[in-house]
């Protein structure tokens, strides 16, 4: 290898963007939305957008833990459904019930995550199968509980988190509670993954579980924790979704794939070892921006589906390309 080669490589590496491309994609989409519809730049426009994107962003922030650990969590959509259905059954129109129903739902989520994690790490069932089984089970439970149709309403105290906009807030005028929840959960999960020893172990386990095990990493415990975090994020997303739009018996359908897609758009590597929480959340916002933009353009549904699919492939390809070029 000559010195010239080395310099060329150095130069190329130097030109690589240090910023994850998902932020550019997101910025471009937001700009396109704003050009298409100037009202989007008014607080009510972008705040509604953020409020709507919050559940998926939280879900993606949880999902990226499992993806970094080298797995998938397909059970989150059905856990959202179970959270909404279960909450409506338990609160039974009693506004005061919210205060014990939410902790109970979080506990339920923790148990689901624990079971997922143990099945994957102790019984060694591939996570795709383990969480698919959990998805079917939870959907069945939600159906059994509700009998196939919603049996009650969610009280306003419960819907507060997903529905209410705080008014007369300085600077932005309106501020959705869901956005505050998103910022809170996002900060927490970002710090946990990128500022603690646990986050480093998680990446090590996903990158090379054998090496991590030999290096003394408690692989099972790290993995189980990732699944518990993902399930908890699904419960929070469920609380927001139920709050946003009320009870329905298939509210979570399809969210598992959206969460995985969001994480991948954010540059997370399927099969583990790489991924960040803020980028996964940006991936979720990107996905929502695509939906919103296509709504605003008013294209017929089939055209929208085609465009949406192509944008998704392009976004993921871009994320992958950048990773390959970076050689990391």
């Amino acid at each position: 290898m000559s010195a010239a080669d080395g310099t060329a490589r150095e130069a190329r590496r130097f030109r690589l963007p240090a910023i994850n491309p998902v932020w550019f994609i997101l910025a471009a989409l937001i700009a396109a939305i704003a050009i298409e519809n100037a009202n989007f730049l008014a607080p009510i426009g972008y705040m509604n957008f953020l409020k709507r994107a919050a559940p998926l962003a939280i879900l993606a922030a949880g999902q990226v833990y499992v993806i970094v650990s080298g797995g998938f969590d397909l059970s989150v959509g059905s856990l959202i459904t179970l959270t909404v259905v279960g909450s409506s059954m338990l609160t039974n129109n009693d506004p005061a019930a919210t205060y014990w129903v939410i902790p109970l739902m979080l506990a339920m989520g923790a148990v689901v995550g624990l079971v997922n994690g143990l099945v994957v790490s102790v019984l060694r069932v591939p996570s795709l199968i383990a969480t698919l089984g959990m998805m079917i089970t939870l959907n069945g439970l939600a159906f059994l509980w509700s009998g196939g149709a919603p049996r009650g309403y969610l009280p306003e105290t419960f819907r507060f988190f997903g529905r209410v906009n705080l008014l007369d807030v300085p600077l932005v005028n309106i501020l959705p509670v869901a956005l505050l929840v998103m910022i809170g959960v996002g900060t927490l999960l970002t710090l946990l993954m990128h500022r603690t020893a646990y986050g480093k172990l998680l990446h090590a386990v996903g990158d090379n579980p054998r090496a991590a095990f030999l290096a003394g990493v408690p692989v099972a415990r790290v993995r189980v924790t990732a699944f518990v975090i993902s399930s908890l994020s699904a419960v929070v997303a469920g609380i927001l979704l139920g709050g946003f739009a009320g009870v329905s018996t298939d509210v979570g359908a399809g969210y598992e794939l959206q969460a995985i897609t969001a994480a991948v758009i954010g540059g997370a590597q399927l099969l583990g070892g790489r991924g960040t929480v803020p980028a996964a959340m940006a991936g979720a916002l990107t996905l929502n921006a695509i939906f919103t933009l296509l709504n605003f353009l008013g294209l017929p549904k089939p055209v929208r589906d085609v465009v949406q699919g192509l944008i998704l492939i392009a976004a993921v390809a871009l994320a992958t390309l950048r990773r390959r070029r970076a050689g990391r």
Partner: protein, 376 residues
């Protein structure tokens, strides 16, 4: 306007003539006109019991099917996979219990699959225990041969969706999809100014009863000179519905909302509420959550129905067939009442679940309200 209508009819028939091979036509001007007429007709039969009423005079002779009881009734059901069918099937079970002559009621659930339903019907026929077969077909074309085979063995009653054969004793159904679309759209057209912006929300494409609701609604709006700003598919999803309406509100004013089904009506209304806007004229359906929201907000609204009381009628018809009494046929067209501002209070029952269909005709039945998920 009449001339415009006639031109439209002419253009449509021409369009049809050129595509004569197209299997199903969801925008049939003749059927539209027929259902519009039926909405105005006074039904025959006992007042206050719409599940026993019928439009038109044609009757089917069933004397050849007369038989001594007790009876085994068999029911091949397309599915119990949505709240409408849950309420309907509960009605049917309660109806069966009201008649001691029915010794056995065999129910097979096709879980939304044509193949399973065809196999179900074959199994029921092979079992040889059924005195009468009631079928709620999953899809029209696929189930026709199976129903034809059943007709050779025993009396068959079809309800809800139809089949392409006249071999069943009777086909029980409310007026139809066009009527739903007409009632909703005419109400809206009467309550907004010409040129008003109407948003049409649909569940999904390709389902006959929903397509006809839409084509009828669109036709009325076009006739009335209203501006349909969009027709969007919601997949019956609350969050998606609310998002779509919010997006439209950001882009401009919406003066009315038309929906092909009511399950997500409350989410659509909330989009107006949460954005601090007055809720415009709306149509929903007869679900409790919509009716209560309508009352609470004092909305200008209407709830056309696809009444679940029709699930009682096949049992009643089957009993008549067993006794050799004549029944309305070859089609038993049930009335299709709408809930409006005048009778709204009669249909609200806060103890019932949100998606309970108020036009169930079930209030006097055994086990009401718990059986339908209500609180005592």
């Amino acid at each position: 306007m009449l001339r415009g209508f006639m031109t439209l009819v002419g253009a449509l028939s021409l369009a049809l003539a050129t595509t004569a091979v197209s299997a199903q036509n969801f925008d049939d001007p003749d059927e539209f006109a027929k259902q519009r007429e039926q909405l105005e007709m006074t039904p025959n039969g006992p007042e206050g019991q719409p599940w026993l009423q019928y439009l038109g005079e044609d009757m089917a002779d069933t004397s050849s099917h007369a038989k001594d009881g007790p009876y085994t009734f068999c029911f091949s059901n397309a599915g119990v996979n949505n709240p409408w069918r849950v309420v309907g099937f509960t009605n049917m079970q309660a109806e069966v219990e009201m008649h001691d002559e029915i010794e056995n009621f065999v129910h097979v659930d096709a879980e939304g699959s044509d193949d399973k339903q065809i196999a179900d019907i074959e199994d029921l026929l092979a079992g040889g225990e059924c005195d009468v077969l009631i079928v709620s077909p999953n899809t029209t074309a696929a189930l026709t041969p199976a129903v034809e085979r059943a007709c050779e063995q025993l009396p068959v009653i079809v309800f809800d969706r139809g089949v392409n054969t006249d071999c069943p004793v009777t086909f029980i159904h409310p007026i139809g999809g066009y009527a739903f679309g007409i009632e909703a759209a005419e109400f809206i057209a009467d309550n907004v100014d010409p040129g008003a912006n109407v948003l049409m929300l649909r569940i999904l494409p390709g389902v006959d009863v929903l397509e006809t609701r839409y084509s009828a609604g669109k036709r009325i709006f076009d006739e009335a000179g209203l501006n349909v700003v969009g027709a969007e598919f919601t997949d019956g999803d609350n969050a998606k519905t609310k998002s779509i309406v919010e997006d439209y509100l950001q882009r401009g004013q919406i003066d009315a909302v038309w929906m092909d089904a009511g399950a997500t009506a409350v989410a659509a209304i909330e989009a107006f509420e949460d954005n601090g806007l007055e809720v415009p004229p709306f149509n929903g359906e007869d679900q409790q959550d919509f009716l209560q929201k309508w009352r609470d907000l004092g909305m200008t609204a209407i709830a056309p129905t696809y009444p679940t009381f029709q699930w009682r009628t096949p049992i009643i018809a089957a009993l008549s067939v067993m006794k050799g009494e004549e029944v309305p046929g070859p089609e038993w067209v049930l009335p299709q009442p709408a809930i409006d501002g005048d009778n709204l209070a009669d249909y609200i029952n806060e103890s019932m679940p949100p998606l309970h269909y108020a036009m169930c005709g079930c209030e006097e039945m055994p086990g009401y309200p718990e059986r339908w998920g209500g609180r005592d």
